[in-house]
């Protein structure tokens, strides 16, 4: 199983630069999208996260056994890195004397709106994403994962079949059932 993934990794371990380029082209964007769905970090942090994930993967390529799809393996590394990053942000050291601050004057600055995002659109998108995530959370895990790969990451049915260890027809059938389940679980009313 996952023969193509194992071959790609074997070529990379042998120093094949074209294999590396194919690996990067296949997974960098998808990992960024995967991470962006799971955090509110800004783009620069997502870039750091995906870069760290890929570098760790490159360093651990010889440990990829092909027991899961390469993308699944990368997502696991990314998930761990995301947790590390959130914890690191949470433990940022503090370094100033509070007494000095109490004595200092507050600075009054102009209130500025974000110039690249319409807040209402952002709110609507955020709300829509929440509804989608809630609906997916209510589905069987296999359905949710197949829908996320198909519509979130843009994998083809053949790729999804390969990642799930199914035939193409079985993967099509799984996606069809997942879509029906999603449709049935879709809430009648949007949340406020």
């Amino acid at each position: 199983m996952y023969q193509e993934d194992r071959q790609l990794v074997a070529r990379m371990l042998a120093g094949d630069a074209r294999a590396f380029d194919a690996f990067f082209a296949s997974y960098a964007r998808r990992l960024a999208a995967f991470a962006a769905r799971r955090t509110a970090f800004p783009a620069a942090s997502i870039e750091d996260l995906v870069q760290t994930t890929l570098i760790k993967a490159i360093r651990s390529l010889d440990r990829f056994r092909g027991e899961a799809a390469l993308f699944t393996w990368l997502c696991e590394i990314c998930r761990n890195e995301l947790i590390n990053m959130q914890r690191a942000a949470a433990r940022r050291p503090e370094h100033e004397d509070i007494d000095a601050l109490v004595e200092s004057d507050e600075t009054l600055l102009e209130l500025r709106a974000s110039d690249d995002t319409d807040p209402l659109c952002a709110l609507e998108m955020s709300s829509h994403r929440s509804v989608i995530a809630e609906t997916l959370n209510g589905l069987p895990e296999r359905y949710a994962r197949a829908l996320e790969w198909k519509y979130g990451d843009g994998f083809s049915v053949d790729e999804i079949a390969r990642m799930l260890g199914l035939t193409t027809i079985a993967a099509q059938s799984l996606l069809a059932r997942a879509r029906v389940a999603f449709k049935q679980s879709w809430p009648e009313e949007q949340p406020p």
Binding site: A43, Q86, A90, E94, E141, G154
Partner: protein, 329 residues
Amino acid sequence: MNEWRPDLRDDEDPVRSALELGLRRQPLDAVALARMHARVRAEFDSLHGWRAGVRRWPRRLAALAAVLAAFTVLAAVYLFQAEEGAPLGSVVRVEHGSLRTATNLFRTHDLVPGADVPSQENITSAGTSLIALAHGGLLRVAPGASLEGVGPNEVLLHSGHVFLDFPDGAGQFVLRTSAGSFEHIGTQFEAAVDGGNTRIRVREGSVRMNTVAAVQLVNAGTEVVVSPAGAVARRSLPTYGPDWAWVEAVAPEFEIENRELAEFLGWVAHETGRHVEFADDHARDVASHTRLHGSVHGLAPLAALEQVLSTTSLAYEVHEEVIRVSSRR
């Protein structure tokens, strides 16, 4: 907000549209990807490129040593951080929607009143929730908020609105967002994360704000917005009124049975961001000598005030930040 919502009953396309719109998000542009490609490629070349072959074994031995050292450090850190696994607090109330914790995107369970709120798990609130913090204080969570308890003294807010309220003498508690950390100094404050911006509104006391750019104090009656780039904007803000409506709606219950009226008035003032003034000495005497009976269960603070004072010889009026209590004439 309902404008976009497709009718999913017709055919497959609306399902695809809904999922693609909701799930497809590409935060990196071509320049960022090219930059990343160069860095990762450099790592690949150094490890697996043909030049790396001759030095691979020494590198692997070094990696093994590094792994052993890292394992030792992690074990030590784990032993000294047993507290980290302690819960953030316990659920007091959940209304109008679930309070859900998730270890990953597909594994979730709903928290009910009385349940511990675990640390280091993502928590999302579909409705409003009230959480009693493990080391004192209350955390109110607005609909749509997403957060994570780092430990009993810290919470990481990913998105949405929360409100923190600490009694006198409460221990240290830090709220963190992607913009920095916010530590209460005897305070009530609201924090919101939306579209990368972090907004803090302080209702009482002060908050110490530690961002990449600076450490600053934010005092009561101030709103601060920190942009993703770290720019800080401030403005004055009333500590009462419609801006705080959702907070008042999630106020903790006040058991009035056998409590002094003055104590009840203090609760109303605290929960509405106002202060109480007595118009005459008689009103002050009545407040300090009257014991209450019954219940104001389910009532918001001002509605509870209306109900309680209707059974006494006192009247009240609310004018901006003042609740003025007087004798009935």
